[in-house]
């Protein structure tokens, strides 16, 4: 750096005296207000440090005169949200399904909450969209073992199926082979009969013998025509919908070992309004409700 001022000929402005490939930078002075704004920000920051939480200390931080805390505000907001929700929840558990359906806000609240609850509690067995897997029913179709009305669904969710509750839904498919109730040959005949009534290919002679056996052993639950009864949770055997499978092998397995799938009673885990929301979701949004 030389000590001589260098003035740009063209503009009459002093230069910074740095030169890059013959290009010099003009040393145009900044406007005074610019630096004043910087001073103002410094004053502001002092005020900020005094008023607001600012400086970290070894254990804690300076709280500031205003005692402002984002964390506290979140806590208050969460509290508020719970209060708002509990009013809605209260309304939900006191309403009938028709009232819920008739109220835009309440229905939306029930569906949104139901969707979350379904994801948290039901998806593991029934699948993400309630499409079910072997042994766990599909909730999207209109085939319902225990009934697909809103009240039926709500009852199943509340008390469960073959669960540990006095009011649980109960029906038992005995293990006809394992417990030696029927002879192996008789079981084969029954399998042929079930194949026959479900519209599949079957051995006519064997199936005929099976029909007699069916009337004696199975019709009390599955009905004389094998169309099932909901009060016993006995599925319809004449349709194409199978909980465990409709092939000869699987039907044999079912009759031989019995089937007693369990769904827990959710009344101990979920509150009344949550069960309400979940029932609305399953009944309306999954598409199978009656």
């Amino acid at each position: 750096m030389s000590d001589h001022k260098k003035v740009d000929e063209h503009t009459g402005t002093e230069t910074t005296r740095h030169e890059w490939d013959d290009i010099q930078e003009l040393d145009t002075p900044m406007p005074r207000w610019w630096i004043n704004i910087m001073y103002m920000t410094i004053v502001w920051s002092i005020g900020y440090v005094i008023l607001m939480p600012a400086i970290p200390l070894l254990n804690g931080y300076t709280k500031g005169v205003l005692d402002f805390s984002d964390r506290d505000r979140v806590a208050v907001a969460v509290e508020q949200m719970h209060a708002d929700r509990s009013a809605r929840s209260q309304e939900l558990s006191n309403s009938s399904i028709n009232e819920i359906i008739g109220d835009d806000g309440l229905y939306e609240f029930a569906v949104q909450q139901g969707k979350t609850l379904f994801g948290d509690n039901c998806e593991t067995c029934h699948g993400a969209g309630g499409q079910g897997v072997v042994g766990y029913p599909n909730l999207n179709d209109q085939v319902w073992i225990w009934g697909g009305s809103f009240d039926d669904i709500k009852y199943s969710i509340t008390y469960g199926i073959r669960a540990e509750h006095d009011d649980t839904r109960f029906g038992s498919m005995a293990a006809y082979g394992r417990d030696e109730i029927l002879e192996p040959a008789q079981i084969n005949d029954l399998v042929q009969h079930v194949l026959n009534i479900s519209g599949q290919q079957a051995d006519g002679v064997s199936a005929k013998r099976g029909a007699t056996l069916f009337a004696e052993n199975c019709s009390s639950c599955h009905g004389v025509e094998g169309k099932g009864t909901r009060e016993n949770g006995a599925p319809n055997l004449t349709d194409t919908d199978w909980l465990y499978g409709g092939s000869a092998e699987v039907i044999h397995e079912t009759i031989f070992n019995g089937r007693n799938g369990v769904m827990p009673n959710w009344n101990e885990r979920l509150s009344a309004d949550q069960i309400m929301a979940l029932s609305v979701y399953v009944h309306n949004e999954l598409g199978g409700g009656e």
Binding site: P29, P31, W33, Y107, G127, N138, T240, N284, G287
Partner: protein, 506 residues
């Protein structure tokens, strides 16, 4: 820097100068180092009369009038929509502009508007330089208004300069206080008018002064009051020179044929005072009266040529013309002209004005094209929209009676101010209407066509299930349309493509 210079000199001090004297001298008058910062030189623009001043007054009143009074205009949109002609309704996510109503989905109209604004600026620049800065920019308009207020209380240029230098007397205190009060009132009206664009103007007027408006309203009014007061009262040309990006962009947008406020030095030079009756031979028309400098709101000398600080307000043209008339010379020593014309005249050629040239034609065409697209879009704007989202978990469901079912979330946008009923059907899927059932989840309406209600001015979601009895004629993924038709107006219809999955390939 200067200190160092002095030291070197002192070190070299020499023949004939005693060291002690030198020191005494430097002590009594220490050399002040150059400041890194430049204080604002206060500008006292002189009042001027003339064509351009008149145009500027008209522009000022027109634009401030538009700004302050538009929120009070009404526009009937029926009982379900606000009746304010221009309203940016953030709460309900709507923008209303007379007959135009824009939903958040249609924000691309804003893009179009911004393109038009930008190219409009480019075109104005290519034609007449900083037309925007000089006549239409809010900074210029409010500064102009504030200067008028200042002049009303403190008098014209010379009186103001005198007042500025004078001691504080009751008269000075009165003048300054009155000026600032009026400034603050204008600034408050500016901030106040701003919030009227976001809520019903009459409603805001009724509640604002009783403390019934939301906090944001007061914050915005306070902010805009402060910025108007500070920017138009104190910052003025500093905004144009230091803060605004436009002068820099302008440099790229202008060309040698763009008309700018120009001092025609080919006619004005050599300048100098002129005695009445003396000859005009051998000298220029500029009598160096400095009126162009006195009226300039940015305090520059236009005779130094086109410069960044010039906002193209044309007041120097008025000032110069007035003088030219007085001294009996033709007007237009300062005028809208180009540097290249000056050169042409110096070369003995006539002036030439090329307003229509490649650049301006291109800008005009872009404006026309974008304007046409927007006009088409607005006049053909659909008042109905339908979005379909297929449910993917489960992809499809086999029902007990062999129907195959798919789920869809259907979103209907009814942009009309009345509730409507829509017939919903699946078209291009299967021919036999009896072989298909649409079921709505919430109300369990079902049939081969169903009727759904959509409230006025709303978007509503419905979950639908579509079940097909016989999928033998369909592929694994069959394309079809959901179609909705307004029950009251069969022309108001919309269809959206989606897919029906049969699961055949599995």
């Amino acid at each position: 820097m200067s200190d160092g210079k002095q030291k070197t000199k002192r070190g070299e001090a020499a023949p004939g100068i005693k060291k002690s004297r030198w020191e005494a001298k430097t002590k009594s008058t220490p050399v002040k180092p150059d400041s890194l910062y430049k204080n604002r030189t206060k500008i006292f623009p002189k009042r001027v009369k003339g064509t351009f001043r008149r145009i500027k007054w008209i522009a000022l009143f027109a634009m401030l009038g538009i700004y302050y009074f538009i929120p009070f205009l009404r526009w009937d949109r029926g009982p379900d929509a606000p009746s304010q002609a221009v309203l940016i309704d953030f709460e309900n996510a709507r923008f209303y502009f007379f007959f135009i109503e824009i939903w958040p989905q249609e924000v691309y109209y804003i893009t179009g508007l911004l393109i038009l604004a930008a190219i409009g600026l480019f075109l104005a620049s290519a034609l007449f330089g900083r037309l925007w800065c000089g006549f239409a920019c809010p900074q210029t308009i409010w500064t102009d208004l504030f200067i008028a207020v200042e002049r009303f209380f403190e008098g014209d240029r010379n009186a103001r300069i005198k007042l500025e230098k004078s001691k504080w007397t009751p008269a000075k205190i009165y003048k300054k206080t009155a000026k600032h009060i009026v400034w603050l009132l204008i600034a408050f009206a500016t901030g106040g008018a701003w919030i009227l664009y976001f809520h019903d103007a009459y409603d805001v007027m009724a509640h604002f002064f009783t403390g019934g408006s939301p906090m944001t309203a007061y914050v915005f009014v306070a902010m805009l009051t402060f910025t108007t007061y500070a920017l138009a009262g104190f910052m003025r040309e500093q905004i144009c020179i230091y803060m605004c990006p436009w002068p820099r962009i302008q440099a790229a947008m202008t060309d040698e044929e763009a008309l700018n406020v120009t001092y025609r030095f080919d006619r004005g030079e050599p300048r100098g005072p002129h005695k009445k009756g003396a000859t005009w031979e051998g000298r220029g028309d500029c009598i160096d009266c400095r009126q162009c400098i006195a009226v300039c709101p940015t305090g520059i000398d236009i005779r130094e040529g086109l410069q960044l600080e010039c906002i193209g307000c044309s007041l120097c043209i008025d000032a110069c013309d007035e003088i030219m008339v007085k001294i009996g010379r033709p007007t237009g020593l300062i005028a809208y002209d180009t540097g290249i014309n000056i050169k042409r005249r110096q070369d003995g050629k006539p002036s030439a004005y090329h307003l229509i040239r490649a650049r301006t034609i291109a800008y005009a065409l872009i404006i026309l094209a974008v304007g046409a697209v927007m006009l088409y879009g607005l006049s053909h704007r659909s008042v109905l929209d339908l979005n379909v989202l297929r449910v993917r978990a489960p992809n499809y469901v086999t029902l007990g009676d062999n129907y195959i079912q798919n789920g869809y979330t259907v979103k209907i946008l009814n942009k009309q101010a009345k509730p409507l009923k829509f017939k919903v059907e699946a078209v291009d899927l299967i021919d036999d209407p009896a072989g298909l059932t649409i079921t709505e989840a919430r109300f369990k309406k079902h049939g081969d066509k169903i009727i759904l209600e959509v409230p006025a001015n709303e978007t509503i979601n419905y979950k639908l299930f579509l079940a097909v009895k016989d999928v033998s004629s369909l592929s694994d993924r069959e394309d079809f349309y959901f179609k909705i038709t307004d029950m009251s107006d069969s022309n108001n219809t919309q269809q959206t493509p989606t897919v029906f999955v049969t699961g055949k390939d599995k």
